[in-house]
Amino acid sequence: MSIKSTLVAALAGTVLLSVTPAHAEFGDTLKKVKERGALACTGHNGSYMGLAEVDDKGNWKGFDIDLCRAVSTAIFGTWEGHVDIKPTSWAQRWPSLQSGELDLVIKSSGWTFSRDTEIRAQFAQPYMMAAIHYMVRKDLNITSAKDLDGGTLCLPTGTTMERYAVEHEAQNGYKLNVVPFEKTEEANAAFLAGRCDAMMEWDLQLGVLRATEAKNPDEFVILPDVLSAEPVGIVMRQGDDNWVDIANWVQTALLLAEQAGVTSENVDEMKANPPTPAIGKLLGATPGMGAPLGLNDDWGYNVIKTVGNYSQIWDRNIGKDSPYKVERGVNALMKNGGILYPLVLD
């Protein structure tokens, strides 16, 4: 017994010691991706609705998938044949990133301290806020959280949701009676059956629940109040600043295009007659966007042409053209009252 446990301990120690995360060098990842001819990006082991799903023909689709494709398009000019979506479980994403099996993790991953430091991941500028909202029945005719005062809230016990609700109530001067449930599924089912006035979740999850489990999705609305929000970003290995730059500027291309009204439909016109010098540069009408990143000058044009701008990606996958109908809310551009903004193209 003692021999065995010593052996196991020694084995475990060896494995742990050897697992020091690989450290990427500047420009290393882009070089490797170009050599391989494909970007290795995350999918899901199954389906994560809205972000990574599989269509009838077995092709991936979803918001996170489209971001993978945008990055791949920026590098190769097209994503077809140049993006390798690897089915990845939640537990697997960090080891797979560190071992070099993945070039990017785009998997609704929140930017946390331990991820940033202990597992030495590098986050790009957040591309989305996972915002916690209330969902209520439409026939209650309420428009904000305060109107819920005195109502009931179906909640699974022991999650952070309860804390968010209590904080928001205290700050905004209203009170909800919590109806606790053991499991999330139970709380959701109880809400849909009319047991409570409200439930709370990340707005995408609310949209999914409403679209997929409610008998009539139109009976429910998501209130605009944000109870809490987690920034979600593209994750890379630490150390390769060039790779982080590419992720950040691809995001900026998507947001800047939205801000300037450049879509996949009008991008050719826009390139021919750029409304501003910045758009001209973004679409490669005037040079300067490619070389500093190690890409071609027209990468921005290619991305918008094939994947669309940020709002097109949103609407198609989780917004109004999808079954989930999630509002932009806090994820709108700053000029529309949200918190997303492109970096400055000078």
Partner: protein, 370 residues
């Protein structure tokens, strides 16, 4: 219901003058012997009928079988099962993420692998040469079809394999590699050299004391940090070898129990006749050991088949993950129950066939023993 007294306490059926005649009489004797008995039978049958009726009502009578337009609109406001989800999404369940236009390859490969398994269950193939030829042919066919790159077929890397095909391949490969390993471990553990037997024992107990998921996780994700590039191979092979090792550790103990149930005299007699170790082991010990250990072996094979679903945690698109992907879209997400029933049926077909084959083997092997 048969009462306890007329079966268990009398090893020989009493001659009561009762004629074992028609169905009616038999039913009467078994289920309606006394009024109390009849009551229980009636209530039980009514409950059963009720359940069966409701299940049938849901699964067949009120079910929707196909979707004419490819959407789930046809399943709105129905009280029965929505089998249209299977009609629309079965390809994902069976083939996973395999490229749509190439799925015939996955289909043929799956058939080839299942055929190999079925054929190797036939006694005619139970010769080392025939069996190894069969399995080599089966695996090469499978691998060429799936991976492609030959005869103008497009290359599809194992990361894109999925669905039932992947589950079957994973299982077959794991058992095929694991079974010889198990025999070797069982024999080594019984070695007369203390060092060898202790080390084998430590290995078996060590592997058995780790959860399968840890082994799979390590094989898939930790080894790339530890092993040099040339030794890594594809992720799928590392995982299959980890899976085989886990299977072998359990199966080795089953085989050892089979070996130890053979009277010692047999081996001593064989030694006295001057038979070599390999003769004794191959001709006398192992055949009997396998026969004795058949029920737990089938048990282990069944468990192992179901354990393949754990590979989902390291990002393989096995039948369970692809089932999840099949209903995991806004269009079909309400139909998860139907998808899981379908997946359960697939598992059932495999596991039940395996159990029935085990029963057949037992009958066959007992032949001539008594």
């Amino acid at each position: 219901m048969t009462t306890v007294s007329d079966v268990n306490t009398h090893p020989q059926p009493l001659n009561t003058g009762f004629q074992p005649d028609g169905l009616g009489a038999r039913l009467r004797r078994r289920y309606f012997r006394t009024p109390g008995n009849a009551m229980i039978s009636l209530v039980g049958m009514a409950a059963l009928l009720y359940l069966v009726y409701h299940a049938l009502d849901w699964a067949v009578l009120k079910a929707v079988w196909a979707s004419p337009d490819g959407t789930s609109a046809v399943c709105r406001d129905i009280a029965g099962a929505c089998w249209a989800v299977i009609q629309q999404r079965w390809r994902i369940i069976i083939f996973g993420l395999f490229p749509y236009d190439e799925q015939w390859r996955s289909m043929l490969a799956c058939i080839a692998m299942v055929a190999t398994i079925v054929l190797s269950c036939l006694p005619w193939f139970w010769k080392p040469l025939r069996l190894s030829t069969l399995w080599c042919a089966g695996f090469i066919t499978f691998y060429v079809l799936m991976r492609g790159g030959l005869f103008g077929m497009r290359v599809v890397m194992p990361a894109d394999w999925g669905g039932l095909t992947l589950t079957v391949f994973f299982y077959a490969a794991g058992v095929l590699i694991g079974m010889p390993m198990a025999v070797a471990l069982a024999l080594l553990r019984r070695s007369e050299m203390p060092l060898v037997s202790r080390m084998t024992g430590a290995l078996i107990d060590g592997v058995r004391s780790l959860p399968l998921i840890t082994i799979l996780f390590t094989a898939a994700l930790i080894f790339p940090f530890v092993l040099p590039d040339w030794l890594q191979g594809d992720k799928i092979w590392r995982v299959i070898i980890g899976f085989a090792l886990f299977f072998a550790a359990y199966q080795a103990e089953i085989i050892r129990s089979g070996i130890q149930s053979i009277p010692v005299g047999q081996e001593e007699a064989a030694k006295a006749l001057g038979l070599s170790y390999w003769h004794r082991t191959g001709r006398i010990i192992l055949p009997q050991a396998f026969r004795n250990a058949l029920p737990p072996t089938i048990n282990q094979l069944v468990i192992t088949f179901k354990e393949t679903s754990l590979i989902v945690i390291i990002g393989f698109f096995d039948i369970l993950a692809s089932g999840n992907a099949a209903y995991g879209t806004g269009e079909w997400s309400f139909a998860y129950f139907e998808v899981y029933i379908f997946v359960a049926l697939v598992y059932f077909v495999f596991v039940f066939s395996l159990s029935r084959y085990g029963a057949y083997l037992e009958r066959r092997m007992r032949f001539g023993q008594h």
